[in-house]
Amino acid sequence: MEDLLPAILKTLFIIAIAVGAFAPIITWVERKQSAVMQDRIGANRADIAGITLLGLLHPLADVLKLLTKEDVVPQGANRFLHMLAPLIAAIPVIASFAVIPYGGIYEFGETTINLVVADLDWGILYVFAIASVATYGTVIAGWASNNNWSLLGSLRASAQMISYEVTMGLSIVGLFMAFQTLRLTDMALAQDTTFRLLGFLEHFGLFQALPAWLSWIQLPNWGLFLQPLGFLMFLTCVMAENKRPPFDLPEAESELVAGYFTEYSGMRFGLFYMSEFIEVVVIAALTTALFLGGWAIPFLPQETIIGAITPVFGAGVATGLCMVLHVLTFFSKVIVMIWLQMQIRWTLPRPRYDQVMDLCWKIMLPLSLANIVVTALVILAITGGKP
């Protein structure tokens, strides 16, 4: 039971940061950014005694408005499932934070601190499993609303989400092969190193040993550099899973009013709305852990940082400082990934539904399979078949 307290603290920390701080702030960022991109001033009206804080009070005003709105259940709808659907959509998204490491493993004398809530051996599979349950939220929402637009939206959502789940899984198999693990902590640890960009020349006997100046050309051992195609495909798939533009076909307002949540009001609509934004944070955190080196600072491995600070402050403080630095690095990378998603969301128009499905089955699926084969061949060439 002594594991319980740290686990609760870590859970509270990640929920407070991701759900409590990031999600409301990015609703504001989204409004501000769309305003900048469309040459408007943007959200700036909500104020408390004349203080607007650049519009940062809008999330607060939204919550107040949603809480005081009437919670309408349409006539002829299945009341129980209608009320349940937003919860099914929101809870799995929040639960995915359990396996995402936001810091490394630190040793303070006797105690070891591992900054992840549940360090599962099958971590990434847990994320996929949980994400596939979230599909039911949208499907049930559309059906239980007794509305044709909603039903069409949820049919689109279920087909789109199932299709992209397939490619999402396949697109990172190459990454599993490269890091030889499914545990997210181990993946991030493996990315806390560097590799020589031209090291393969030495391996294949073109050089006895690389000249020193060529050895200096190094890259961090990030998933992004090992699996660039995998990164692009994974990002596309998770964005399609999240159903935000340009993949917002299930809620295309020009065709389906608001799609699967047309009949939702008040805080139940708010749950759908928030789970979308929380998923933006989940996607950012997951791609950071998988492809952007997690908490690792490029070219500065953990031992180097601790080794450099220890003579000044002592081992305990050095480890603590390193931990703080790593957590800050992780969240900075998360912010970059959120920014990238926002850029994509406000840049690209929405394609037609058949184009979205074609992209998945006719382009991404063959590409992801090819990626797996090529990765396997490269690994075979490097290791020579030895495990």
């Binding site: 039911y136 049919l155 279920s158």
Partner: protein, 167 residues
């Protein structure tokens, strides 16, 4: 009671209750399908308690996450009512279903061992993706390849059925 025992009994009870909910929910097919999802997830919890982590993840990803969604998809599109089949045919279907259920129950009863086997120490990494993958590609490679052929045939069949015109 240990935490494992608690989770096992909780998940097992949930699985049985939701399975009953699926069978008894004859009026509302979508609610029945959702009960099936709960059964699948409860079974996954049982697998986790049994240290079969990979199977648990696959159970949720494949059964709960994909197959039942497709069920729901079909149910929603067809909007089946109970009068879709004629009364004699319904009686026939019910009798056939009852017989099948009896047969399966009988064979299960025959399979249940009377005494519990001795508790074995699990090897390191039991039920993980490494152990299962190694077994799958060494000892059971033939079965693996045969089942992939079967799936390929099913896929081709689905494409042929779904396509209106094959050129």
């Amino acid at each position: 009671m240990t935490a494992q025992a608690f989770f096992f009994y909780f998940a097992a009870a949930l699985a049985v209750i939701s399975a009953l909910g699926m069978v008894l929910n004859v009026r509302n097919t979508v609610a029945a399908a959702m009960s099936l999802v709960v059964t699948m997830i409860a079974l996954a919890v049982v697998y986790v308690v049994l240290e079969a982590h990979l199977v648990a993840a696959l159970q949720i990803m494949v059964y709960a996450g994909a197959i039942v969604v497709v069920f729901l998809f079909v149910v929603m599109l067809l909007n089946l009512r109970s009068d879709a089949f004629s009364a004699p045919r319904q009686r026939l279907l019910k009798a056939a279903g009852g017989l099948l259920a009896l047969g399966i129950t009988a064979s299960f009863l025959a399979l249940i061992p009377t005494a519990l086997p001795a508790v074995q120490e699990l090897p390191e990494g039991f039920g993980g993706y490494r152990a299962v993958g190694l077994e799958l590609f060494t000892r059971f490679v033939l079965a693996f390849e045969v089942s992939s052929l079967l799936l390929l045939a099913a896929m081709v069949g689905a494409v042929v059925l779904a396509k209106r015109r094959i050129d």
